[in-house]
Structures are given as structure tokens and as C-alpha cells.
């Protein structure tokens, strides 16, 4: 079955200050794919995500989400077009409870009216949904806790739960394993895999833990010095000699 292209990036150039950070990057991502973005520090991975999500201005190039050009869309407009974004410094609200964080995501995803909390039926339905989503990431017992009291790994899991609740066809995840213990990495991997396989989301992940990434993704894009160096299946990328020299120094 032919899959739709969810994200199309053509000849992307992003300049910040006097420095060209992303140089002529083109990539197409199909529905349901999990694509890994790797590269040395400072090669422009997060800037690439910022450009896709509207947080960095584009010099030249074209970005389309679900066939619609989004170059002139603000970040919140792109989010409404089906783009969900995770952040390096974790994009959850630490002064709210876990429940409130997920409720916010559900409210946005379903465009609930302002008075929904005063409808008993609606409140029950949303509460049930919150419980299911938090249970999926093993955080149900912390539902009423402030997010700021969670550990680093638990915050990442909460972010996955939030991305799930937000819906959207395209999910960008930035270094999900940063500060996460090996035990929780397994849960994180499962959460991400579930988003794609069970809920049909298309996912791009920036990650430095190559073992974590290569077990998860369908395809890898390598950025070096702001340019797309290569693209291919995890095994192909792993065996590339020049990449081993650039990335691992071997």
C-alpha cells in the first residue's frame, strides 16, 4: 500500500546570525515511519527541528506537512496542522500536575469548549482518557503530583504521554534519552514504538545513543556540518567508514 508523505523538506537553508546552520537539506518522511537524525554536536540537528516546527526562520527552502506548505505558518499554526514537538529541555509544565499536563494536551487535540469541565459526562470521559494515557507510561500513580517532582526519566515519559495525547500525524522528539537511566530507556523505547506502530504517528528522533536509536528506527539521516551526509537503513549507516571516523573518531 502506497504511503503518504507526511513531511517534505526541500533544499532547506537556515542561517542564524552570520552562520549557515542547515545547508541544502532535503528529506521526505512517509506515514508511520520512524526516522532517526544523528550527527556530531553542533551539526544543526535541533536547528533542523526548529525550522520544521517554526521556531527558527528559514532562509530558503520549502517545508510541507501532509502536503501543505507551512513556511509562513507560526509554530502554533504548524502544531494545529498536526505537528507535535518534544524539546531537549523537556516540554512539560513542571508547575502543573501530570493530570493537568495531559488534560491540556487533550483539550488542544479535541478542541474542547471552555465549559467542558462542568459537564459530568465529558469530565468522566476525559479523566478516563488521562488515566489510560498515564497508565501506558507507568505514571498513573503520580497523576496528582506536580510534574516538577518527577525524575528526568519520568519527565521524558510524561513528555511521550503528552505527545500521544496531543494527537497529530507528525512527532518530533529531541534527545529523549538525555538524563534517562538504562532501566527507563526500555520503557521510553516502547512508548515511542507504540506511538508509531499502534497509533500510526510519523516520528523523527534526534538521538546520540545510537544503540537505542538503531533498534527503533526504520531509517537514519546523518547530518554533518549542517549538510545531509547520508541517509539509509541503520545497518548501512553503521557500516559507513567515513561516518565512523566523523562520529566515533575511529
Amino acid at each position: 500500500m502506497k504511503k503518504n508523505i507526511v513531511l517534505s523538506v526541500e533544499n532547506l537553508h537556515v542561517q542564524l546570525g552570520k552562520r549557515m546552520i542547515n545547508k541544502n537539506i532535503s528529506i521526505n518522511v512517509k506515514e508511520g515511519e520512524i526516522v532517526g537524525i544523528i550527527g556530531p554536536n553542533g551539526c544543526g540537528k535541533t536547528t533542523f527541528f526548529n525550522a520544521i516546527s517554526g521556531f527558527a526562520p528559514i532562509d530558503t527552502g520549502l517545508i510541507s506537512i501532509n502536503g501543505e506548505e507551512v513556511n509562513n505558518f507560526t509554530p502554533h499554526q504548524r502544531a494545529r496542522k498536526g505537528l507535535s514537538r518534544g524539546f531537549q529541555n523537556v516540554g512539560v509544565f513542571k508547575e502543573m500536575t501530570l493530570e493537568e499536563n495531559i488534560i491540556m494536551a487533550i483539550e488542544q487535540a479535541e478542541q474542547l469548549p471552555w465549559y467542558w469541565m462542568f459537564s459530568r459526562q465529558e469530565k468522566k470521559r476525559v479523566e478516563k482518557r488521562v488515566d489510560t494515557i498515564l497508565d501506558d507510561v507507568d505514571l498513573l500513580s503520580h497523576k496528582q503530583s506536580l510534574a516538577g517532582l518527577l525524575s528526568g526519566g519520568q519527565l521524558r515519559l510524561l513528555e511521550m504521554a503528552k505527545l500521544h495525547a496531543l494527537g497529530g500525524s507528525l512527532v518530533l522528539i529531541d534527545e529523549p534519552t538525555a538524563g534517562v537511566s538504562p532501566v527507563l530507556r526500555g520503557e521510553l523505547r516502547n512508548a515511542i514504538a507504540q506511538l508509531a506502530k499502534k497509533h500510526g504517528r510519523t516520528i523523527l528522533i534526534i538521538e546520540h545513543d545510537l544503540k537505542f536509536l538503531f533498534d527503533l528506527v526504520d531509517r537514519v539521516v546523518v547530518l554533518v556540518d549542517g549538510k545531509k551526509y547520508m541517509e539509509g537503513k541503520p545497518k548501512e549507516v553503521q557500516n559507513d567508514a567515513r561516518l565512523r571516523e566523523v562520529y566515533f573518531g575511529t
Partner: protein, 285 residues
């Protein structure tokens, strides 16, 4: 009895402005120091329209509130264009600028002599009637405030303070939150200004200004938690506590300064308490 009606009327006016302050300062993290300008602006606009241009009183009130919202929209636009620090300074400057405007254009505003004999609407001509009306208005405001706190907008406002970038990634426009907070706060200050000017029935450049700002900031900081109860208690503390000084044997010329000193001490104690109890600091260690 007149004294208690007066204090209660002052409390209700402060509470209305305090709600706007709580939402902007404590919940959204927007230092909307221009609220005293909106407080004075609506009062002066109503008085000028009614007394100088013979506009019907209720129409003057409606126009004054509408123009106050326009003023709020202007501040909202400015907030999106300048840095937070610049906005704070600009708001402080607007208080001084408005004071200078009022003093200079005396043909319109009465200058330093002000505008006297401001009549209350027919239905609230007496002080008890004004207090009842103010109570009704504040009940509506507090119910609306409760609904906002529980609604998606309440969460968006709190999220805006903490992580505005993540809020955008949720699909929420920052501008919509900023506009809601600043225009809403300005309107509430405008309503409070009208209630207060109807109580004292006189306007001069000392109306609103820095003393009003001190009261507003005190309530906003004391009402740190996003709850109706918090702003109610904060307003009670800020308005009624200094009244206890009146019953002490101090010269009347000192009473005003003692109030300001009391607010300053309250703020220092509160800020010290908050910084000591920060639970997230413990986590980071």
C-alpha cells in the same frame, strides 16, 4: 456605619483590580504595571465625557470601559514587540506620563485641581446602594475568575508563564493568551477605577498612580496561588490590616506612610518565605 461602608467599598474596588493583578503578575508572569493607568484612565474618561461633554452617565461609563480595553489592547501589542524588561519600564513610565498629561491638559482634566462633584448613577446615589452594587459586580467578576481558572484558558495562562515555547508547540497562540490577560486586566482595573471614583466623587492627579500600584502589587504577590480564595484573602489583608493602624495613637500625617511601610514589610516577608520554600530547588540538589 459610614466608615465600614467606605472600607468595604474600598475593599471591593481593590479586589476587582487584584483579580486582574493576580492573573497578570502571578499566573501569567506579565508585569503589567500599567494597571493603575487603566484605573485612572477609565475614571477620567467617564468624568470628562459626563461633566464636560454632557454625555449620559451610563453611556459615559460604557465608553470609558470600551476605551480602557482599547488602551489594554495597545499595551498588549507593545508587549509582543519589546522585551519583558522594556515592557516593565514602559508600564512604569506610562504611570508618570499619564500623571503629566492630567496635570498639563487642565482644560480637559481640571489639572491639579481635578474634577469635583462627580455624580453617581441615579440607582446607586447613596453609599450603601453603591456598596451593594459593587458587591454584585465583584460577585460576577469572582465567578468569571473562577470559571477562567478552571477552564482551558486558565491552564494556558499558567503554561505561558512557565514555558511559552512549549505552549506554542501545544498549538496555542501566545498572542491570544497575552491579549486575554492584558485586556482583561485593564478592563478590571477600569471597573475598579469607576467604583472608586463613584465612592469619593472627586478626581485629581493623585487618583490611582504609584499608591494604587503599591496596593495592586501587594495583592498580586500575596495572591500567589491561582485560586479565588487567594486573591480574596490577599485583598482582605492589604485593605483591612493597615486600618488597624488608624486605631493606634499615630499622627494622621504619618498614617499614609505607615501603610506603605506595612505593604513593603509584607512583600519582603512573603518573597523571603517563597524563596525559602521552593520545592523544585530541593529536587535539583
Amino acid at each position: 456605619m459610614g466608615y465600614f461602608y467606605t472600607i468595604f467599598a474600598r475593599f471591593l474596588a481593590s479586589l476587582g483590580q487584584g483579580v486582574g493583578g493576580q492573573v497578570s503578575f502571578s499566573m501569567a508572569g506579565i508585569f503589567l504595571l500599567s494597571l493603575p493607568v487603566c484605573f485612572s484612565f477609565s475614571a477620567y474618561t467617564m468624568a470628562i465625557l459626563h461633566k464636560k461633554f454632557a454625555v449620559v452617565l451610563w453611556v459615559s461609563i460604557a465608553i470609558a470601559l470600551f476605551l480602557t480595553m482599547i488602551l489594554g489592547a495597545l499595551f498588549s501589542y507593545i508587549y509582543t514587540k519589546v522585551s519583558k524588561d522594556s515592557f516593565t519600564v514602559l508600564c512604569l513610565g506610562s504611570i508618570l506620563a499619564f500623571d503629566a498629561f492630567v496635570r498639563s491638559f487642565d482644560s480637559l482634566t481640571g489639572g491639579v485641581l481635578g474634577i469635583s462633584g462627580i455624580l453617581r448613577p441615579e440607582s446607586i446615589r447613596t453609599l450603601p446602594a453603591l456598596v451593594q452594587f459593587s458587591f454584585l459586580v465583584l460577585t460576577v467578576i469572582l465567578v468569571a475568575h473562577y470559571l477562567v481558572l478552571k477552564s482551558p484558558m486558565g491552564r494556558k495562562i499558567r503554561a505561558f508563564k512557565e514555558h511559552p515555547v512549549a505552549l506554542q508547540a501545544f498549538g496555542v497562540s501566545q498572542k491570544s493568551v497575552i491579549s486575554f490577560v492584558i485586556i482583561g486586566g485593564s478592563l478590571l482595573s477600569g471597573i475598579s477605577g469607576l467604583l472608586e471614583v463613584f465612592r469619593i466623587q472627586f478626581l485629581d492627579p493623585s487618583f490611582g498612580g504609584i499608591p494604587n500600584l503599591i496596593v495592586l502589587v501587594s495583592i498580586s504577590i500575596l495572591a500567589l496561588k491561582p485560586k479565588v480564595k487567594a486573591v480574596l484573602l490577599a485583598s482582605v489583608l492589604v485593605v483591612f490590616l493597615p486600618e488597624l493602624i488608624s486605631f493606634l495613637d499615630f499622627p494622621s500625617a504619618l498614617l499614609g506612610h505607615l501603610r506603605v511601610l506595612l505593604y513593603s514589610v509584607l512583600l519582603i516577608v512573603l518573597i523571603y518565605t517563597i524563596s525559602g520554600k521552593s520545592q523544585f530547588q530541593k529536587r535539583e540538589i
